[in-house]
């Protein structure tokens, strides 16, 4: 379905995950973050860059992998994105919902 955000129309799933990464830009990320009660700081951007890179390299994301990334530990990841961190971070990053259970 279509969604109007930051003055642009993007396609998203019912849960709000973007389906076309090419439509993503930083203003959309900021607006998505605001919808999820998150204000993006440079630390958030380091995490978003990391998960976008993992996605581009076809690496499945999990909480455990984030913890071993060297970018952020699990505790800080939950501080940066307090509610459902992996889902919220991937949503803001414009990539599909992770399917991991761990």
């Amino acid at each position: 379905m279509d969604k109007l955000i930051a003055g642009k129309t993007i396609s998203v799933t019912e849960e709000g995950f973007m389906t076309e990464f090419s439509q993503w830009d930083k203003s959309i990320a900021d607006a998505m973050a605001a919808e999820n009660d998150v204000t993006l700081t440079p630390r958030h951007w380091e995490v978003i860059d990391y998960i976008q890179n993992e996605y581009k390299n076809d690496v499945p994301l999990s909480i455990r992998k984030i913890g071993k990334s060297g970018v952020v530990d699990i505790k800080e990841f939950y501080q940066l994105f307090p509610v459902a961190p992996l889902k919220t971070a991937t949503k803001i990053a414009g990539i599909p919902k992770p399917v991991s259970c761990i």
């Binding site: 999990s62 909480i63 455990r64 992998k65 913890g67 530990d73 699990i74 505790k75 939950y78 509610v83 459902a84 961190p85 992996l86 889902k87 991991s100 259970c101 761990i102």
Partner: protein
């Protein structure tokens, strides 16, 4: 808060320390946090072994009394059989990116899951708090645990 039917908190009671039960408990608790749901675990009876520092790295799966293993009971009871089945299962777990018990406990506490030991069972097994996993949140009575679970949208699960 109004009851919208939404799950806000999972209170999971772990009473067994066979590997398959411990993992079920940990995956459910971690999965709750991943969805923005609070989670607390109450370790009671043999479940305490999953947070006992000297035991938690050596938990086994049950080869006896477990029909889903499809192994005759007599065979499952042979010396070394549990260890063999456990090492096979551990290999599969590593393949699907499942952490070992200690690392999983660290992930749970970093994710904000509260870990409680049951006072009665601690007394029964003569365990002391210093014998247990260092990030344990405390030792509780059943009454304390119920109090922890108060609020709208709390669900309790016994494993």
């Amino acid at each position: 808060m109004e009851d919208s039917g939404k799950i806000n908190k999972m209170m999971i009671i772990l009473s067994k320390a066979t590997l398959e039960n411990v993992y079920a408990c940990f995956v459910l608790a971690n999965g709750a946090r991943m969805e923005g749901i609070e989670a607390e675990i109450f370790f009671t009876f043999f479940g305490l072994e999953a947070i006992h520092n000297k035991k938690l790295d050596h938990l086994h799966i049950a080869t006896v009394g477990n029909p889903a293993m499809h192994m005759p009971t007599l065979l499952g009871g042979l010396p070394g059989m549990e260890a063999l089945a456990t090492s096979m299962m551990k290999k599969e777990m590593e393949r699907i990116d499942m952490p070992d018990v200690r690392e999983f406990l660290e992930i749970l506490t970093a994710s904000g899951v509260k870990l409680w030991a049951c006072k009665l069972a601690m007394d029964m097994f003569h365990y002391k708090e210093e014998d247990m996993f260092e990030d344990l949140d405390g030792v509780l009575t059943v009454g304390d645990f119920y109090k922890q679970g108060s609020g709208v949208g709390t669900h309790m699960l016994f494993i």
